[in-house]
Symmetry: C2
Subunit: 358 residues, 2 copies
């Protein structure tokens, strides 16, 4: 492609333009990133979020950093370190920075090569998304056939759509594909506190695509599953261990427990760049980001004047603690859907399917 | 006592004054209830909430209804029906109305007898709360001894403190008692979307009592339990079946699954009036209230001007679904703590302990 995707793109001056995901769905605006600091800040403050798009932003960020330091490799290494450390859990970030820096270190035409490599990473993510869409929609059709149902009810947590992974997402890609195939699909959208990526981003994406969906409090999924109102769960991931444990948005683990308790299949959709093959036990080893308590104590939305505004929702005197992710153990995952197809969340199967990446 | 409790009381004109729980913790105000309609409205719109306090309000409501219709029993029966149907899940409501109406039907001094009976119900709840406090705090001490820990971390969902059950609550009563006993206790307070009774009410109660606590998004409990940061879970209940299944605030089931998955004891605290002995299978038989979608789509809190205000947090075009409760199956409950002590969530044990009530 040409460096233009739905969630981010290069403008004519080769600056990176990203949709500002902090103010969706009520305000559709963009932020332009021109240098290292703006890239780090956009990742940290979640102007961009979602494992894939963080990786894409970081990749373009290395290109911008190289431009900023006129291709001085020593300075670029320092800037790359800042970008690499901007968030701790999603491994695509580290993966993208490492891949870009490999190119930088051996390039004779650094700026051009880095730009092409960042575009290549995004293009690969687009292809990944297409493959996941197909494999996931096939799974939906199998479930519908097996259960003899004409509508499929899918539950998802957080946002793993095109705002998270160019250019159709991971967990939402099979949902978009199902819609294209004419499947009657309904999506339960977990609100996803504290930052409400479900209510704000997934609901907005699905609404734009005219896909039938209902927003629920994160507390609700268990009850729905107990009462046969969910046929399959699918989420994205921020890091998956070699053993098949999946770090994803906080609360995913609770939904996987409910799915398991009610014999409902639970899938994780991911590009292979989300695997961390250095780690086997994800629960013990994947670092979990702790974000500021104000994300729990305050909430943003649209006030009665139509202004984007903020409210305090926890007493001033009370503390809050804000883990960004949790880890779903492999035993609770029915399958991992990647660009290479579906495999069990099992070390042996993962090592077989991805042996060239180990 | 004399009809004066922390969450509600009779004023000098024998009207019922209740704390307005919709605007806590940011505004401390009261609502005065003088007749049937005001009673029904206060229960429906959650000016009062919490199984016990709903029952208490209904009991005083019958007294006010009798006053309103000058003791005409036919008219009172109609008004009692309205109060009885004001909310569907918490069984204490039906229990309190039925008990009051039994008195009304055989009384020769209806107003006086109904007032005394409502006070009697509240006084019994106070005693229940004290008994639960003692039994629950004993459990905490046992857990600390067994695990050789000097601080106990308790996770609770929603609010089952003195705002829910006069005069110290159910689930929070052992926490208050632990504080009195000098136990080093820390409470994880589930925010409890969509109405945030945890963040708004439990955090406020615990803050007032100077009890160490931290508010977390409802999504967070699973991660905490996976990492040894929770020693015991305790919640209230709105209806418990003869088989030991417990309806409580939506999301309780998810926490019970996480507790079970991590070998953490999970207790339900309740007055015996919360039992519904007519029902064995709580998952199939307990009616679950569906509330308005605006409780999910809008949220209330304090704006930057210090005004109590509301924000929209879900796209206008998206639907929302708002179940008020879910049912935790007995197999996931370690024990039921009532005014009679602790029993397993097991039909046989329940029938033995409460045989006089069957």
């Amino acid at each position: 492609m040409n460096g233009k995707y739905k969630a981010l793109w290069l403008d004519e001056q080769d600056n990176l333009v990203v949709l500002d995901q902090r103010v969706l769905p009520f305000v559709e605006s963009t932020v332009t990133i021109t240098n290292t600091n703006e890239c780090v800040e956009a990742i940290k403050n979640m102007t961009v979020r979602g494992a894939g798009v963080i990786g894409n932003t970081a990749a373009f960020g290395i290109f911008l950093a190289a431009r900023e330091c006129n291709g001085n490799l020593v300075q670029l290494e320092n800037r790359a370190k800042l970008i690499r450390e901007s968030r701790p859990t999603a491994v695509n970030l580290m993966w993208a920075v490492d891949r870009m820096m490999k190119v930088a270190r051996k390039s004779n035409d650094m700026l051009n090569d880095l730009k092409l490599e960042a575009i290549e990473i995004c293009d690969e993510d687009c292809q990944t998304s297409k493959n996941i869409a197909d494999a996931g929609a096939d799974i939906f059709e199998e479930i519908m056939k097996k259960q003899n149902i004409t509508t499929i009810n899918v539950l998802t947590h957080c946002n793993a759509g095109w705002l998270a992974i160019v250019d159709d997402g991971t967990a939402l890609a099979p949902i978009y594909e199902a819609k294209r195939r004419g499947i009657d699909i309904h999506v339960w959208v977990d609100e996803t506190r504290p930052r409400n990526q479900g209510a704000n981003l997934t609901a907005w994406e699905l609404g734009k695509a005219d896909i039938n969906h209902t927003v629920i409090a994160d507390n609700t999924g268990g009850h729905l599953m107990q009462h046969g109102m969910v046929d399959v769960c699918i989420t994205g991931a921020d890091r998956v261990s070699r053993g098949g444990d999946a770090a994803n948005k906080i609360g995913t683990y609770l939904k996987s427990l409910a799915a398991h308790d009610n014999n409902i299949p639970f899938y994780i959709a991911l590009p292979s760049s989300t695997f961390d093959f250095e780690i086997v036990d994800g629960i013990k080893e994947i670092p979990i980001e702790i974000r500021g308590e104000d994300e729990v104590k305050f909430i943003r939305g649209l006030d009665k004047h139509g202004e984007y505004s903020e409210l305090q929702i926890v007493p001033t005197a009370s503390k809050a603690l804000n883990y960004g992710f949790d880890v779903t153990p492999s035993r609770l995952i029915t399958g991992l859907i990647s660009e290479r197809g579906v495999c069990k969340a099992d070390q042996k199967e993962i090592e077989t399917m991805f042996k060239d990446l180990l």
